[in-house]
């Protein structure tokens, strides 16, 4: 197990470095450069040259990268030249909101996907199973922003049950916070359940054909115990994997959903930075999201290993 963790950790380092290089290279591709953007109308050749020198833009790219990396290692991700806020401040203010959204979404996805998967696997091939697998397939073709406007139209415009946009911090008013979170989380959750359901269903159908299920039946166990313990437990490992795979899509979905529902999360920060060409924030957010994504995947890997007794005992 320790060896496993060490190996994964060792792999993490080059990937993180590659992420930082890629982020930096993308940012350096900018046609025109930062100096022009910052100076805007006041861009005279002299001003630009002076600012370029101040920003270190006249140095070769690898030197700039190393300098940038050196600052980042020290925790200095830069400061927005528009709001004056540091990247870390801006991100740390917004991370909890995005996390809340993604966790709620994943919970909704699991709450819909897991029971459906179990029900379908238990009655594989039945009319119910075919209906639900069909719906899941259909749902996979519904883009997030589409279900978002559908939900807004239904619950905010027509029924007027829930607010379409806005946000209240959880610490201020938990109930109002949840009211604002319902539609965004539901939107993302609706995109999550089909994947969860499809993979878990086929996994459980395979598990149900295993010898140990036949033995569990031969032992006279209750059908519910066979289904929920003997068949679901081995498949729950798959659930961890799916959740891991989902993270990337969840982050992407969060960007869209936060923008539509005006939630002040990371996604909105990113879109805002793009629209106002706030490049320092943009660069910082992309780097942090990329790194966070890599680290989350790493944690999922560990979780998987922790849950599977075969890997835990070093048999894999």
């Amino acid at each position: 197990m320790l060896f496993f963790v060490a190996r994964r950790l060792l792999y993490l380092v080059p990937v993180l470095i590659a992420v930082s290089v890629l982020t930096f290279v993308i940012a350096s591709l900018l046609p025109g450069d930062l100096a022009y953007v910052i100076l805007g109308d006041q861009a005279t050749p002299e001003n630009v040259a002076a600012l370029r020198h101040d920003l270190g833009l006249d140095q070769p790219i690898w030197l700039r990268y190393l300098g940038w990396l050196w600052h980042i290692v020290q925790g200095d991700f830069g400061r927005s030249f528009r709001t004056g806020q540091t990247v870390l401040q801006a991100v740390s203010e917004r991370v909890p909101i995005s996390f809340e959204l993604m966790i709620l979404a994943e919970l909704i996805g699991l709450a819909i996907g897991v029971p459906l998967a179990i029900a379908c696997a238990a009655k594989a091939g039945s009319a119910f199973d075919r209906l639900m697998t069909g719906s899941a397939f259909g749902m996979l073709s519904v883009p997030t922003f589409l279900s978002a406007i559908l939900l807004i139209y239904l619950f905010a415009v027509e029924l007027r049950w829930l607010p379409a946009t806005g946000y209240v911090p959880f610490t201020e008013d938990p109930l109002a916070n949840l009211r604002f979170m319902v539609l965004p989380a539901l939107t993302l959750g609706l995109a999550e359940w089909p994947g969860i359901m499809r993979v878990l269903r086929s996994d459980m159908i395979a598990a149900l054909q295993e010898d140990y299920i036949a033995l569990a039946k031969a032992k006279g166990l209750k059908p519910s115990r066979i289904l929920f313990v003997h068949a679901l437990k081995p498949s729950s490992l798959t659930l961890v994997t799916i959740t891991g795979i989902n993270i990337g899509r969840l982050i992407g979905g969060a960007v869209i959903v936060e923008t539509i529902f005006a939630l002040p999360g990371i996604g909105r920060l990113l879109v805002g930075a793009i629209l106002t060409r706030d490049l320092i924030i943009l660069q910082g957010v992309v780097l942090l999201v990329g790194a966070g994504f890599v680290i989350m995947n790493f944690i999922v890997d560990l979780l998987y290993a922790l849950l599977d007794p075969r890997i835990r005992h070093g048999h894999a």
């Binding site: 990937v15 406007i149 990337g248 869209i256 629209l275």
Partner: protein
Amino acid sequence: MATLELSLDESSAAPARRKRRIGTLFWLAVGWTVVVFAVAILADLLPLPSPTDMDMLERRGTFSAEHWLGTDGLGRDELSRLIYGARISLIVGLCAPMIGVTIGGALGMLAGYFRGRFESIVVGSMDVLLAFPPLILALAVTAYLGQSIFNLTCILGVLGIPAFMRVARAATLTLARREFVIAAQALGATHTRILLRELLPNVLLPLLAFFLLGVAVTIVVEGSLSFLGLGVPPPISSWGSMIGEGRESLDVAPRLAFIPAAAMFLTVLAFNLIGDTMRALTDPRQGAL
């Protein structure tokens, strides 16, 4: 015996019914795709009002003989915009996976055939590309390069490379161990010949199936970006940007969002259906049954 029983159970269960069920749906999907392609290609020949002509007196008009699907918030003909929007969605949706399938497919085949250090480098660099949530990377790159159909297509294409690489590599890995490849090698065929004559035709089919799924994904991603106003630049409209504009008037004219939404959903669903059916047909595990 136990093995006999298992194989019986599987072969008699799902696949037969599945094929029959997808049959009609599959042809409906093909039909819809053909219609969308036809109107998108023939848009200029069709007797349509210009998609950019504004008629400020007829804003958000409902269905009429003049404007079959009504007009949008600026009095532009909705049907015409829908059809010209299909062009953009299809151009990006087809060209981007084309980039992915060409580069990714080639890299995957080479990696799967030659193995060794080349494979490690390819797989490793793909891992780095996958280290970013795709939408974030697409957003960041468009932000830096500027919004244009060309840039958008390139970025979405590059983002598709890892997935195509994996499919091609997996297919090549299994194929390269088959008798016909070994026989060709024994006969002294060159690597180029084996790759192009023996492997490519066999890798092409799974790649094509995956390509169709890639089209569906790309249409969705392009739609998402355009919906956010970060995809194709105005005044060009794609389905995504139409939905985005329609969202503003959800309370007075919800159809402005829902008509392009329906078109997009059906098209994505059609590509998913066709791709999934083809994948099921080309899946080596299913073929073995």
